[in-house]
Symmetry: C2
Subunit: 279 residues, 2 copies
Amino acid sequence: MPPDDVRRHRRARSSEVISSPANQVVRLVRALGRRKAREETGQFVVEGERGLADALDAGVRPHVIVVRDDYVAGTDRLDALLAGDEVDVRRLDTALFDDLCETVHPQGILGVLPLPAATALPDDATLVVYLDGIRDPGNMGTLLRSSAAAGADAVLVGSGSVDPYNAKVVRSAMGAHFRIPILAADTVPMERLQALPIRAIAEADADRTYDGVDWRQPSLLIVGSEAVGPGETGRALANLAIAIPMTSGVESLNAGVAGSIVLFEIARQRRIGSPRALK
Amino acid sequence: MPPDDVRRHRRARSSEVISSPANQVVRLVRALGRRKAREETGQFVVEGERGLADALDAGVRPHVIVVRDDYVAGTDRLDALLAGDEVDVRRLDTALFDDLCETVHPQGILGVLPLPAATALPDDATLVVYLDGIRDPGNMGTLLRSSAAAGADAVLVGSGSVDPYNAKVVRSAMGAHFRIPILAADTVPMERLQALPIRAIAEADADRTYDGVDWRQPSLLIVGSEAVGPGETGRALANLAIAIPMTSGVESLNAGVAGSIVLFEIARQRRIGSPRALK
């Protein structure tokens, strides 16, 4: 729904409490639970105050904000936003709102936001993360969050991965969507990635340890699924396999945690200006 | 339910398909969803083949194994176990089994296991993890799994934390329960912990970076909740606050990931035999 269309009716509607599941905004939010609808409309849903604050911090203006009938803004900024003219606000019947949310204990506020424009890989990128076959939304969210926090320049999402704009991913990424470019891997020319001197793939049985790499060089970190590892594209790109040594052969880590450990080793080396002596 | 009690009726019952929710084993499994019942009976439930394999690897014998009517063992070992005499096996009606499971897509097998005996802190412990106020089961599971994988000697669980034998914790810890001693923090004398020279608490705004500590010394790592940080006991124990530097002030990590990053920096220093030069 284009914002202009919505705004025209704002004043008339904003004080009404919507209780019909057939309402246009209700149907839009529900439709955005599906990847296809997100891609077709170029919008996605962010639930909760923290998520919306992250969007506002990044200068992203919601197309519509939907609040539960009993919602009281938890921050002055949200309060001002709801009272002001800038954003279309709709008020929903309590049961209808809760039913619409994917969270178990909804905070009573959600926003429909524009999908970040698909930007190109930054020219000067020195740390790119390639998520290849990450199907678990929690792991995807963790990896987006850790990538942003560790200072990566972009995250590429391979075709076998969960949609990064899935509601569970958005929730666990805690605003990373607004702080790091997220690109479909197949929109980035392979030559750009092949030009990065370190192209490391995390694999449980690799000989090289993850901290035995000089990560100060421009790097691509490829993280695959816990169950089956990275896909063909990831494997074709890699020129190095790395492992995280663990106490016993039985141990393993999930892809979100393993990827985060490597990302912060990269950040650590770049911060202190040297890797440990390479073997 | 003591195993002997069960075993007496095994042969007669194991070929029957149980369909009554009032069945004694069904009621036991359901009751074990509550912490109180776990503590009173000294048992907990492990769902899925991987979890049961971890228990068997650790030499833990299930008191009862419950399978769904259509279950076919995915490994030879489980197949042999189900066919053999060693463990009491019950077969449940499909709908009843699925209703009993906390997982969304149950694999069709679960076991009732003895709670690991509360052991004391190992005398020669050089890395102890103190989880103080970790309420999210996923984070607790991650921290148990990372503690085992990074070579910690024990995990202490503070009173404000989720029960480590909660089904979600057990699921996400991927067998760590059988590989590392997990103790209630209040069973360990404070003097034992105060004797560890490094007692570090993870805090977002600490001046000291997590990699600027010589972790080769005997250490206590205190991890608190993402929302409110560690509790009073954790704070009282700490002699050092550490932070994980991040790209921008906006960023943060969840307690499970942050704790894992510190744990693997500790493992890294101990493996390579030196920390980076301390500031």
